[in-house]
């Protein structure tokens, strides 16, 4: 693996036929082809075109992984997210070679670091003790909402900016990505970062084809429409989500992912649980 753009150029100069990468899906920690056998052409690569069945398989993987991921300590999840930043840093040149701006890759790395630090702090910011009028211990704490379907924005930084806030708190995600090569390369970063299989699942393909199955899926708790550009599709997905009263993160047209995301993206995918217990000698 070339260590710098310079080294990459040196490799390119050698008179040797390059070994190309096959871009498949990232589901359950593995890189399967679409069960449909379909591919589509993106910048000269045949990329897996995910199907309804792939979406369902990905939800199964995400659901299976969720309790253990949520049950890991916040400290542990933070370590894993920091490891993602380390691995992304190591593969920086690969993303640049895919045409992602160097500054954007750096921002994406830094975003993982930022969210890594949130893992054991968000509960202190989003939860609190409640001074009820009686002899009761009463505390409200955030918990992950569960499995989140995500229609990702079409940039590496956008992609990281929707995955990281979902998983840092213990959710697992099924992502529909519109930048297949960068998304699957990010999948390779995740696969080598101690992220348990199934925590992040990445489908490449058409949002209009796959997202409705996620929006109406009974075992999906929330749907993030950040990357949905088409207002009609967004409305259709929000309506489908109403069937099981999924939490809906509405589309963010013109969102600037270079700015401070704030706590909103995490809080939108959290549930508040309030526990009461009497006090007494």
């Amino acid at each position: 693996m070339p260590k710098s753009p310079k080294a990459a150029a040196a490799v390119a100069e050698r008179s040797r036929l390059a070994v190309r990468k096959t871009y498949k899906l990232y589901v359950g920690g593995k890189f399967p082809r679409s069960e449909s056998g379909r591919t589509y052409l993106v910048d000269g690569d045949n990329v897996a075109l995910a199907s309804r069945k792939d979406a369902r398989d990905a939800v199964l993987a995400a659901r299976a992984a969720q309790p253990k991921w949520a049950g890991a300590t916040a400290y542990n999840r933070g370590q894993v997210l920091y490891r993602i930043a380390e691995m992304l840093e190591a593969r920086r040149s690969e993303f640049v070679a895919l045409g992602v701006g160097a500054a954007e890759v750096d921002a994406a790395i830094d975003r993982w670091v930022w969210y890594a630090g949130w893992s054991d702090k968000i509960a202190q910011v989003a939860g609190n003790a409640n001074p009820v009028a009686g002899p009761y211990f009463n505390i409200s704490s955030p918990e992950p909402t569960g499995v989140v379907g995500v229609v990702a924005p079409g940039s590496l930084l956008g992609l990281v900016s929707v995955i990281a806030p979902a998983i840092v708190t213990g959710n697992t995600v099924v992502v529909v990505a519109s930048t297949p090569q960068a998304a699957i390369t990010l999948g390779e970063v995740l696969a080598t970062s101690d992220v348990p299989g199934g925590v992040v699942n990445i489908l490449t393909g058409k949002a209009a084809e796959i997202a409705p199955w996620l929006a109406s899926h009974d075992d999906v708790n929330a749907i993030d429409l950040s990357g949905v550009g088409d207002a009609e599709l967004a409305t259709e997905l929000e309506r489908a989500a109403a069937g099981t009263l999924k939490r809906v993160v509405r589309p963010a047209p013109g969102a600037d992912y270079t700015t401070d995301p704030g706590t909103g993206p995490m809080i939108e995918l959290l549930e508040i649980k309030t526990v009461w217990h009497p006090k007494g000698f």
Binding site: V132, Y136, S140, T235, E238, A242, I272, T274
Partner: protein
């Protein structure tokens, strides 16, 4: 056992008019059509109430929109003082409002007097204090109101649900059009009078009475910026669908099928009180009612015999009698639903039991009922009955209890009874529910956020978290 002498609360403290109009822009006005609201305990008509038509809702929303400009521009400290005023007036009129609530709803005066009304006043006090402190609430340095809030509330806690909706909306600078439930419109109309007494600016609170169509028209109104609904999951789904694509903010507090889990080391007497409170409080017309009792097999017989003995002492009858434990079912329609699901429970093979109790001849009544031998496949274990009917299931291990408790599309509340602290905390962690009561049940407080996971809705009401639903 001693007999109880009748201890009726006087209804003379409530001065009911023969008819009530809509409260729009600070004035009561008539509508073209009216409907009657009855006392469910004797089916007597209490008053005639205006049925808001679309044009009435239009007027109410327009008034709220006009009022929003000045209300949202008012310093928070001034908004706070209006809310403090309202809270005080509620306290001063609480006996009248408690009797009114029991008349229109059928709930025992003991509950409207000791639970509903104190919580209503406390809720206004709590959010009054937030009005000038919003920048400290953790929602950014400059939290802004959303605009006009369209709010639709249920019939089980009419005035309390009004307080849960209106207090945070006004504290955050929003204005309100509220539709009370069809069968319990009166306390909201008395609240309108309280707004006038408090000299709340016209249009800040508007009350439109009516049925489902009125509510639908309100939540779909293009000038409504925020929708808040408490009611059934089915209607919640319809509202979520209708709001899709509009950009309106939405909070939903919907149905439940709470598990009340009793472990073998639980203090049995306290647990039995908790079970009774969990399912028979407010005739079981409670979205967070502990309607599924999960009892550990080794103590099931002991718990059930103690529960049956306790149920035998419950007094069912006149809601205005201070000794009444279980009042009237709120409506004929609700009674029919409870009756139907109970018949299905028996038909599906569960064993039905009620203590002997005389029910009044007139009005809507249902004896406290438990079903034993219930499995998770039974409809009475899956569907919200919203009545005084408890389904009893058993379990052997904590893991099985958690599995069964979570085996429902709902996730509003849950109960845990155990003497072992580590077990309580571990089980509380695993329950997918917005409120977990450990060694207690059905406790509410304005500082404590309330709301569900999964199909029990989204958003929280109460506490600091309750502000979020009304802030941009």
């Amino acid at each position: 056992m001693f007999e109880y002498a009748p201890a009726p609360e006087s209804r003379s403290i409530v001065d009911l008019a023969p008819s009530y109009g809509l409260f729009i822009d600070g004035e009561f006005g008539e509508a073209k059509d009216t409907f009657k609201t009855i006392n469910p305990a004797d089916e007597e008509v209490l008053a005639e109430v205006a049925l808001a038509a679309p044009e009435d809702v239009d007027r109410a929303v327009a008034a709220a929109k006009r009022a929003f400009k000045s209300w949202s521009a008012l310093p928070g400290s001034e908004r706070a003082k209006y809310l403090f005023r309202i809270a005080r007036i509620i306290q001063e009129r609480s006996r009248e409002l408690a009797v009114l609530e029991s008349l229109d709803n059928g709930k025992p005066i003991k509950e409207s007097r000791d639970t509903d009304l104190p919580l209503v006043a406390a809720h206004f006090f709590y959010y009054a204090g937030w009005a000038d402190k919003l920048k400290y609430a953790g929602f950014g340095p400059d939290p802004r109101p959303l605009g006009v809030a369209g709010q639709v509330i249920p019939w089980n806690f009419p005035l309390l649900m009004l307080a849960w909706k209106i207090a945070p909306a006004l504290a955050t600078g929003n204005t309100v059009v509220l539709k009370p439930a069809e069968t319990t419109p009166l306390s909201a109309l008395f609240f309108a009078d309280i707004c006038r007494q408090a000299e709340l600016p016209p249009g800040v609170v508007n009350i439109v009475t009516g049925a489902g169509d009125t509510g639908r028209y309100l939540v779909e109104h293009p000038d409504v910026n925020k929708v808040a609904f408490t009611g059934s999951t089915e209607v919640g789904r319809q509202i979520a669908r209708s709001v899709a694509g509009t950009g309106k903010r939405l909070s939903l507090e919907l149905g439940g099928k709470a598990a009340n889990i009793v472990f073998d080391d639980a203090p049995i007497d306290q647990a039995v009180e908790g079970i009774v409170n969990g399912i028979f409080f407010n005739q079981g017309h409670v979205c967070c009612a502990g309607s599924r009792l999960l009892v550990q097999e080794s103590v099931a017989d002991e718990v059930l015999s103690s529960l049956k003995r306790r149920m035998g002492t419950l007094r069912v009858g006149d809601p205005l009698d201070k000794n009444t434990d279980i009042g009237a079912i709120n409506s004929a329609a609700q009674l029919a639903r409870i009756t139907e699901l109970s018949e299905i429970g028996a038909a599906e093979g569960a064993e039905r039991w009620s203590p002997p109790c005389d029910l009044p001849d007139r009005g809507f009544w249902f004896a406290p009922t438990i079903f034993t031998g219930v499995t998770q496949a039974h409809r009475i274990a899956r569907e919200e009955i919203f009545g005084p009917v408890l389904s009893v299931l058993t379990f052997r291990t904590p893991a099985e209890a958690v599995e069964k408790a979570n085996n429902t599309p709902y996730g509003l509340s849950a109960g845990i009874w155990s003497d072992k602290g580590s077990r309580i905390l571990a089980v509380a962690d695993k329950l997918r529910a917005g409120v977990v009561w450990a060694n207690t049940f059905n406790k509410f407080d304005p500082t404590s956020p309330f709301g569900g996971y999964k199909e029990s809705g989204y958003g929280r009401e109460g506490g600091r978290h309750g502000l979020e639903a009304y802030l941009a």
